[in-house]
């Protein structure tokens, strides 16, 4: 597509439930990133996929969080047994292969606002 698409745009879930957030990156973008935006916390890096390489999971806050990227395209972020502190906007971004390329930057989706009640 023309941009990065995320769904759902809003999600309200009960504490303890599992949720899945979806990201459809720009066609041809090999790199895909998940960030979390919490009030007053800025953007917190969660996970990074680059092509067929092993993902960089260094930002995932706990083992309740996981993500996968199928076929090098669509990615799903899963949060198990949600907690109230998981409430945030989850942003996905994609980019072309970065090293040495001057036009390195991200294209962000509009995010999924997750509210855990």
């Amino acid at each position: 597509g023309a941009g990065v698409s995320q769904s759902p745009s809003n999600k309200v879930t009960e504490k303890g439930k599992d949720v899945e957030l979806r990201c459809d990156p720009i066609s041809g973008h090999t790199a895909l990133y998940w960030y979390r935006q919490s009030l007053g916390q800025g953007l917190e890096f969660l996970i990074y996929f680059q092509g067929n390489s092993a993902p960089d999971k260094s930002g995932l806050p706990s083992d309740r969080f996981s993500a996968e990227r199928t076929g090098g395209s669509v990615s799903t972020l899963t949060i198990q047994r949600t907690q109230q502190e998981d409430s945030a906007v989850y942003l996905c971004a994609s980019s072309t292969r970065p090293p040495g390329q001057e036009n390195y930057g991200y294209t962000f989706g509009s995010g999924t606002r997750l509210t855990v009640v």
Partner: protein, 114 residues
Amino acid sequence: AQSVAQPEDQVNVAEGNPLTVKCTYSVSGNPYLFWYVQYPNRGLQFLLKYITGDNLVKGSYGFEAEFNKSQTSFHLKKPSALVSDSALYFCAVRAFTGFQKLVFGTGTRLLVSP
């Protein structure tokens, strides 16, 4: 470790006045520096970047930023603010080598009053 600091949670400026949103960075080696803007209920939009070359970088919507290596700063500026510039602004850095991801600051809310 690479990081950026945005020391101001909020900047207030009157329409027509110049604006500055501050950012300092810490990174090993040469930095890639970026500014993004977020309007309400929207994703982040790219404003401008510094990779190499001239220290003054011009971007979208009349914004510019000055890379200052000695002060490790990359402040965002605009000569004449508009009410429509009111938004949340994020500075970000990436090392030339190593981590393949952007590290963002905590954001600065810009409020431009009529």
